[in-house]
Symmetry: C2
Subunit: 356 residues, 2 copies
Amino acid sequence: MTERPSMPSPEALACPLPLRDYPEIVLGHGGGGQLSSELLEHLFLPAFRNPALEERNDAAVLQLGDARIAIATDSFVVRPLFFPGGNIGELAVHGTINDLAMVGARPCCLSAAFIIEEGFPMEQLARITHAMGRAAEAAGVPIVTGDTKVVEHGHGDGCYINTTGIGRITSDLRLGPRRLVPGDRIVLSGTIADHGMAIMSVREGLEFEAPIESDTAPLHELVETVVEQAGTEIRAMRDPTRGGVAASLNEFASQSGLGIEIDDQAIPVAPAVQSACEILGIDPLAVANEGKLLAVVAPDAAEDVVHAMQRHRLGCRAAIIGQVVRDHPGMVVARTAIGATRVITTQIGEALPRIC
Amino acid sequence: MTERPSMPSPEALACPLPLRDYPEIVLGHGGGGQLSSELLEHLFLPAFRNPALEERNDAAVLQLGDARIAIATDSFVVRPLFFPGGNIGELAVHGTINDLAMVGARPCCLSAAFIIEEGFPMEQLARITHAMGRAAEAAGVPIVTGDTKVVEHGHGDGCYINTTGIGRITSDLRLGPRRLVPGDRIVLSGTIADHGMAIMSVREGLEFEAPIESDTAPLHELVETVVEQAGTEIRAMRDPTRGGVAASLNEFASQSGLGIEIDDQAIPVAPAVQSACEILGIDPLAVANEGKLLAVVAPDAAEDVVHAMQRHRLGCRAAIIGQVVRDHPGMVVARTAIGATRVITTQIGEALPRIC
């Protein structure tokens, strides 16, 4: 083992360093921000090089016989395991279902693999698996195979869950940031930052009149509604989890080579969430969601997509929050209430560790 | 948290207790033996209930459009991460490929999800991913999607890897212990206990003239060779990992309701592995393999299957090691060198923790 290096200063982090300057993994490498992206680019992609992986979508799309299928994998290490609005179990089911839905796939089945720490209460494991079973049944996506490993005390953190899902793509939709066109509208299905702030409120012991609950939910039916409404006028979709809406919009901007402009005031945020963000000094745009859909759609279809979302229980607060522009390519800019503009960046590392 | 109970005595373990008598997870719940089976039966199956899962195979088989596909998942928590003959990386690739091969599927692709501990050396991660990439390429099974999570120091153990694989079943083979018929022969592709003893030798600091190396290898081509040779005369296949050949044979016996008789002297064991087992007081039949195929075949086809295996580099020490019998239903019995018999049981818990 090499000696542990000291963490780089915030100044150094503002300019991401190549991996060789990180001789060890830091929390930020799992944060879904720039460090994660660097690890993917410089370590995983060169090692695993193949076309499906290089698409860098949340789910890989491949041909299997006459079927076009999607495959997505996600490990869940959220802390605490139980939080207002859910637990790691439904999060693991919904998270992978949502990754499949984002490439236009109808989820067919899930695998579930557990790494459990010795001494973990059986009753908690039963509550988690029960929640997973219920979530899978409600979504109509069965858990068809699994695995269990146990590690010694002090080598885990209660329970980690991996879910991997397979979905089937039956439409001829081709989605992705490269399809963005200036003028396209950005549609968001509801309030942001609920999941991340539910977790942070528990960790920080914050209490509000109305408790903040995670928005964990399966998005595949909402996606179907949107696809039925707008078909090929949908350019790209994301469920803005780690890194929040900010990270997803920055992906859209950088991969399309276009700019994105959003209207701060159009973005729905629940009052308690807004308060929690202010207390903790966190931008709600950078906070994880687990049941929200961000879609880029052609301008003519945008209003209809919003109305279609609003008719679904998971989209009742849907709104157009911005648009794709030719200006400032690769950058996301927000217009504030007083008419000023600010640049929305992707976080470098990990603002909120172990959020999912 | 409830108080940690003391471990049951060996006498109590000989008669597995229902889960309510284990208020907490113990290492044995991940050992692939009777405690694992109990956890599956009383906790996971009731929570996730669905027909594919209830088949209890290493891989689930489902219909997707016109394709019959298999899906298998496995998390790897082996300790140490690097061992003679390989590392956790190739183990993770081969393990899931092998689970798919055992249901007669041709592996198509893998996902790879990492849970890494903060402070893990980047150089070790690079060696692991490089080994995975090479193993995937050599097997012709690309890694198409992935995920990375990082947990704090003291909440992991370097690196845990989950791989999930999809395979396609193009033959009309129907495999499973329920197809066993008295007289069927048990064919084994080579020496046993190499992987488990390679790990244990490192952990215990044992040294031998010839170092013991893990047998980690992808078995899908060997399986294809066997299937080409014997087709529907193959009744069932297993790669005897956790719990070793003993656990796989006991599964065959209990699920078929028939007996199994093996000849101790027919089972190939490398001399150094035999010595290591004797020093540590471990039965090689109970030790994990990571590149061995155990097949039950109709008597007329058995010799040809052995010869076909022997022509493949992974099967050069293939042998018939026993047969299915009408006697002692549900039990596995070995005939020893001096003509006595002994009952081969499945271990209750975890003889060799974190072996894969």
